[in-house]
Amino acid sequence: MQEISSKIREIAAKLLAEKKVEAVLGFMPGTIPLISAPTVAGTSDEAASLCWDRFCGVNLANYLPKRTGGRVAVIAKGCDSRSIAGLVTENQIKRENVYIIGVPCTGMIDRAKVMAAAGSPEVELIENDEQVIIKADGKEITVALSDVLQDNCQGCEHRNPVVFDELIGAKVEEAAGGKINAAVAKVEAMPQNERWKHFDEMYSTCIRCYACRNACPLCYCEQCFVDDSQPQWCGKSTHPVDVKTFHIFRAYHCAGRCTDCGACERACPVNINVRELTRKLEKEVKELYGYEAGLRLEAMPPLGVYKEKDPQEFIK
């Protein structure tokens, strides 16, 4: 991690000095424990404060489509690089306008899990590649690293950046995968009424803050459908129907685009597992159309193409 941090600082300073980019999007140490904050480094001085650790979960691709101006460099994990590729495919950014500094990733730590284990928000962490020692309230707890990683990192099949201009450090081994399908299958196996109850309960605490939407790199529409008023597709309240309408379409319009980066889940203040719907769609898209988002720049998104022989058993 230390090595990667200094490499990032070095590369950022060089890119800025050579005026290859206007700014570098990266991370700096956060102001609260267990979160590194996204930052924009525009000078080599600012580049010196860049860091890399297991708290750099934020998907920086989110900042790209909203940006105007020239070329920027961006630090990208495997999932982030796929989001960037998706944004290029969807014509939201130009490939030549981003300089992608890829960082192979072995998982980001889930702050909520650490705090739950520690029973306190005041924690200090010491980690190596297998274990995490959590210090809180004068006590020390040792847990396996995999137990406190974000859910999406645990089954991640694309830890190495897929598009990049420069790669920092050596490529890492990909995880076995199949986790998404297993998680989806668990819900699929429930009887229909149970499934409904499950989602009804899951969304019952949603406060419609839209953090999940705003954190997602795919949500770049000028006007979101939830803000439409004529016609109004989705009521403004936290009535269960309004909440579910929001979540159904939030997930649905990520179909074939979501890279399971986990930004939505990480952003939710009430810890709703909003990836439950997007990963179902991810699984369907892969099974029905053999597509995984953001793996190739030239691939057309699955809803923008068709095959004459596409499955249609559900149509009378």
Partner: protein, 157 residues
């Protein structure tokens, strides 16, 4: 208990004369003409559908489906031209992918089978149109009134 509550909130179902309301989104060039043909041919089919004409099944936005359910529809039918027959050549092929994913998402969330239907009906298939409507109406009747995404039914279910 839950059932009792839902009935109080739905006086119509309590008095037992509930009739399913079905919204049918029909493509102008085929299924809509098919419906016309069924009418001209005086074919009998259940009077439970309200038709909304769309220019092509490719125009169908899944938002329309939830908007209908939200305002109290009990069932939905979306019908377009057979593959290869779309007036705009490929609208229904794109639509098919959208429908497949939307359907499986709703199914995953626990929306009842038989709530939402899709079909291909051509302008020449008046009889088939009548059959499809009967089939859809029976399926919706069998599962009862729609509550799960109905904004008019208050409270949690």
């Amino acid at each position: 208990m839950a059932d009792k509550k839902s009935e109080i909130r739905n006086p119509k179902s309590e008095i037992g004369n509930w009739q399913p309301k079905i919204i049918a989104f029909l493509c102008n060039w085929c299924s809509y003409a098919g419906a016309d043909l069924a009418g001209v041919g005086r074919m009998q089919y259940p009077p439970n559908v309200r038709v909304i004409r769309i220019p092509c099944s490719g125009r169908m936005n899944p938002k329309f489906i939830l908007a209908a359910l939200r305002s109290g529809a009990d069932g939905i039918l979306v019908s377009g031209c057979h593959p290869g027959d779309c007036h705009y050549l490929s609208g229904n092929y794109f639509a098919r992918r959208k429908f497949a994913l939307f359907r499986s998402l709703l199914d995953y969330m626990g929306i009842e089978d038989g709530r939402i239907h899709f079909s291909w009906v051509s302008a020449a298939e008046g009889e088939r149109f009548a059959e499809v409507i009967s089939e859809v109406t029976e399926a919706v009747r069998a599962i009862g009134p729609s509550h799960r995404l109905n904004r008019k039914v208050m409270g949690r279910r």
